[in-house]
Amino acid sequence: MKHIFCNTGYFFREVRTLFRMNWVSNILTLISTGLIFFLLAMVISGWWISDSVMESVRGEAEMSVYYDERLEDDGVMQLVERIKEIEGVQGAHVISADEAYDRMVDILGKDARVLEYFDDNPFGAFVEVRISLDKVQPIMEVLRRTEGVADIRDNREVLERLHQIAEILSVLGYLIIAAVGISTLVILSHIIRQGIYHNREQIHTLRLLGAPEAFIAFPFLMAGLLLTLLGGGVAAALAAYTLKFIYGQMAGPLPFIPLPPIGAVIQSMATLMLPLSAALGIAGSLFGLMSERRF
């Protein structure tokens, strides 16, 4: 192994020669791996974001229970106590009609003026029930049978939609990972084989002089690694920009979606992309080297 460390300068010169000898192909390889990795980075980030949104929404699962308006205050308090005792309910409290109005003002922001067109408060009081998501169905059943309950609204539909999106993204994610893996391996092994072919005379001479296979292969490994690392780096940078842009676009019209902090998303995306592209680079080069062992 010593001969590898003693010759780093030589290996870097060899890599430079390899790139120069065939620079058009190498630049195209760099661009295509960069684009593929960009796709990967975006899908994986999307996957994470939807997962994290799912998680936080799951924590916020709640139901609005509207009660019979003829119920007295005492009756309402009893109802709340009874709801609290249902298995799976984490908390329940009354939201008065005024509170409901104020919340809507908050959500609508500038557009809250539309509420001025109403003479009366259009919102009714209700019991806000925090629940664990997996208990929605049994809780619903119990509530329906409970006296004094007029109407139940839950955000299950929204949750289910989100869940579907997350599933689709994860399937898409696996597909893209497979596609990226295979195409990177193919592209890289191809460019490495091309390099080996261009250098076949030199490689033959080195073998005649007794050079170990590892010594001969090392510049090709380095070249492959550099190509994918560069591609991965460019892709990560591009993906970071794109994510920032998307976050900027979402912040205005959809402020209530609980997106994970962008810094964390970018950081985990980059820490995944770089080792992944390095690993694919090494694998692709080895693949190329193996298929050109003898010529």
């Binding site: 010593k2 001969h3 003693c6 010759n7 300068g9 030589y10 020669t17 005379e201 030199q202 033959h204 001479t205 080195l206 073998r207 005649l208 002089l209 007794g210 050079a211 170990p212 296979e213 010594f215």
Partner: protein, 224 residues
Amino acid sequence: MIKAKGVCLKYPDGTPALNNINLSVEPGELVYVTGPSGSGKTSLLKLFMGVEYPTEGSLEILGQQIAKVHEKEIRQLRMKLGPVFQEFRLIKGRTVMENVMLGMRFLNASPSRLKEDAGVALTKVGLAHKALSLVENLSWGECQRVAIARAVARKPELILADEPTGNLDKDNALNILELLTSFKDNKTAVVITTHATHLIEGQKDCTLIRVDGGSISRERTGGA
């Protein structure tokens, strides 16, 4: 150093290149291999380098059996050889110095040692002033010297030079032979092939091997 017993070499296309070769070369021996073109001189050296394997008989180089099953060990054996190829096999686009160093890079010498040894070898072949020239800008004879420098800088136990005098005029050819034989010492044997028999007439203290039609005859000239 070299022990051949009943060695035959038949190329895959059926060409019988060498037939029943029996031979032994000792450390410090100088061997000239002569014979007409196509007689099998290069083939003999290819066997010695483990590039071809005997199709019959047994061949041992520096204690290493030459056979397909020993491919890995033969690669290591080659590190102890100093080959000078008939077609030089220098790497184009690299300097003279880089070419000489390339032959040593995987021998585990330190980088400073590498440069020093390459410089010494280039001085010995009289090309120190061309160290930074690209090999494609050199004359035939200069290329020959670079190839020799690359071989001897490795401090080999066995120097194998294939037709090092080809294409050179008599004076230059004699210079090259003199240069190559100067690397012979009590540990290092030198094997040189040439079809120019007139160059080695009267050479003292060496072994002459004549290859013809795949067979060899051996003759020992006396010491000075």
